[in-house]
């Protein structure tokens, strides 16, 4: 029963949601909205679980005096600061919560994103090698599109912008559409397997 009941719930709700897609009536829509509301509620409560797991992990690390304990202290202090500042001073523009967000989180996340520039260069230098015909086509396409998308490239090699646009609008789109069709079918098959209980990795 411990295994059958969750599978039954999965089957019934999965079938309902699949059928709901084809029924535009407002009662069907209300059912869908209610399901989504429940999803939101479950999601919010699950954050409690997540925070408990995170705190437990880092408290254990501190108790065991593992390597990198100072980062655990910083994490717990940051978590406590954001929670307390939100409760005590609110979350509007002048609150300590927003100050912490603007002064710390914004610059850090922008910096992490900016690292991509460096990593793209090192990945390109390492990976784009003409090892085979397909690899050479990939290499040439990458070079053409990179040069075609910047003004300097268009000045250096006249006409490269048109070739770049063609690569984006024709072969790139064709490949994306083909992969999307495969993904759609694969996704449908995976969802079907889960709903019918053929494969339920989350119910072990």
């Amino acid at each position: 029963m411990q295994r059958e009941l969750p599978r039954l719930i999965t089957l019934v709700t999965g079938m309902f949601m699949a059928i709901q897609y084809f029924i535009p009536h407002k009662h069907s829509e209300q059912f869908y909205q209610t399901s989504l509301d429940w999803l939101i509620i479950v999601g919010i409560f699950s954050i409690v679980l997540g925070i408990a797991s995170l705190v437990n992990l880092h408290v254990n690390k501190i108790q065991r005096r593992d390597a990198g304990t100072k980062y655990s202290y910083i994490l717990l202090a940051g978590l406590l600061y954001m929670i307390l500042s939100a409760i005590l001073t609110g979350t509007d523009q002048q609150s300590f919560f927003m100050k912490g967000y603007i002064a710390v989180l914004n610059p850090i996340t922008s910096t992490m994103f900016a690292l991509l520039a460096f990593y793209i260069a090192s990945a390109a230098f390492r990976a784009f090698r003409a090892r085979s015909l397909i690899a050479t086509i990939l290499l040439v396409s990458a070079v053409v599109v990179m040069l075609g998308r910047v003004p300097a490239g268009e000045d250096l090699i006249p006409g490269i912008a048109k070739v770049s646009d063609w690569l984006l609008n024709v072969p790139n789109m064709a490949a994306k559409r083909a992969i999307s069709i495969g993904l759609g079918l694969g996704g449908s098959a995976t969802a079907l397997k889960v709903v019918l209980g053929i494969e339920a990795p989350h119910l072990r």
Binding site: I40, N106, F128, R149, N172, M173
Partner: protein, 273 residues
């Protein structure tokens, strides 16, 4: 290359070169012109063709980490809308980006002397973008009974008679998330309003499909798209400046790729001999 096993560039050297390629052009003059692509011009022309007083909806869905690419688009579009005396309805369905979008909107409104509640309204954030987009198709007041500043929508002059997408001239989502798919499927797919999107350069190729099929009437992609739009609006800014940075760094990466291949070919010949 000369040397025992060929010349191998260290990762740190690559990083240093990229750092210089990004930093140095910032101190140089920006390029004079940027070639405008049809998909960007389509957005510009559509907004340009609107009458004063019409409402443009701008869902701005990005957080500070994407601001470098997305903010120039937002500023350029707002500039055009305020220049044409269009009214602007803005949301931000990304929790981390709410303050950023609000500050950009306020900055541009102050520059053009626009009054909140009459010329522009900011609805703020609500979770689960798919649900919000569908709900706004019925009535903006369903997901947003109040605006970002907790004023009931019915008390805002601009929102009088503005119920849902039918009352806005077009929707241009400036979006760094996969939420663009929600706008296409649940937004224009259901409620049939004119939709365009402005996305990051990485995601833009995903949406050429929809441009071709007519589900999007325009597409602004990445910093390049932002630069084109700044040029069209007649106010070159960070994005146009960024074109020189992008040009230099792209050329550097191409040079590194070619250099890497030269090294690869030399080493392969050496191994064969």
């Amino acid at each position: 290359m000369a040397g025992t096993r060929g010349f191998q560039l260290e990762r740190h050297l690559v990083f240093l070169l990229i750092f210089l390629a990004v930093l140095v052009p910032l101190f140089l003059p920006a390029p004079k012109t940027v070639r405008v692509t049809p998909e960007v011009k389509s957005v510009y022309d559509r907004i340009e063709g609107l009458q004063a007083g019409e409402i443009v909806m701008l869902p701005c869905e990005y957080d500070p980490s994407m601001a470098a690419e997305m903010s120039p688009m937002t500023m350029a579009v707002l500039r055009q809308c305020f220049r044409k005396d269009l009214r602007v309805l803005v949301t931000c369905l990304v929790s981390n980006g709410v303050s950023l979008v609000e500050s950009e909107l306020r900055q541009m409104a102050e520059e053009w002397g626009r009054k909140y509640g009459e010329d522009y309204v900011y609805l703020g954030y609500k979770p689960y973008p798919g649900i919000v987009i569908m709900a706004m198709g019925e009535d903006f007041r369903v997901p947003f009974p109040t605006d970002y500043y907790n004023t009931p929508l019915d008390e805002i002059p601009m929102m009088k008679g503005v119920k849902n997408y039918q009352n806005v001239a077009l929707v241009l989502t400036i979006n760094s998330t996969s939420g663009i798919d929600y706008w296409i499927i649940y937004g224009t797919g259901r409620y049939k309003f004119p939709l365009a999107c402005a996305s990051t350069a990485v995601m833009a190729p995903n949406y050429y499909n929809y441009l071709q099929s007519g589900q999007l009437f325009g597409l602004i992609g990445g910093l390049r798209g932002a630069a084109e739009y700044e040029q069209l609006v007649g106010h070159p800014g960070k994005a146009v400046k960024g074109m020189l940075v992008q040009s230099v760094s792209h050329i550097l990466i191409v040079a590194l790729i070619l250099l890497g291949n030269v090294i690869f070919i030399v080493e392969r010949r050496r191994r064969r001999s």
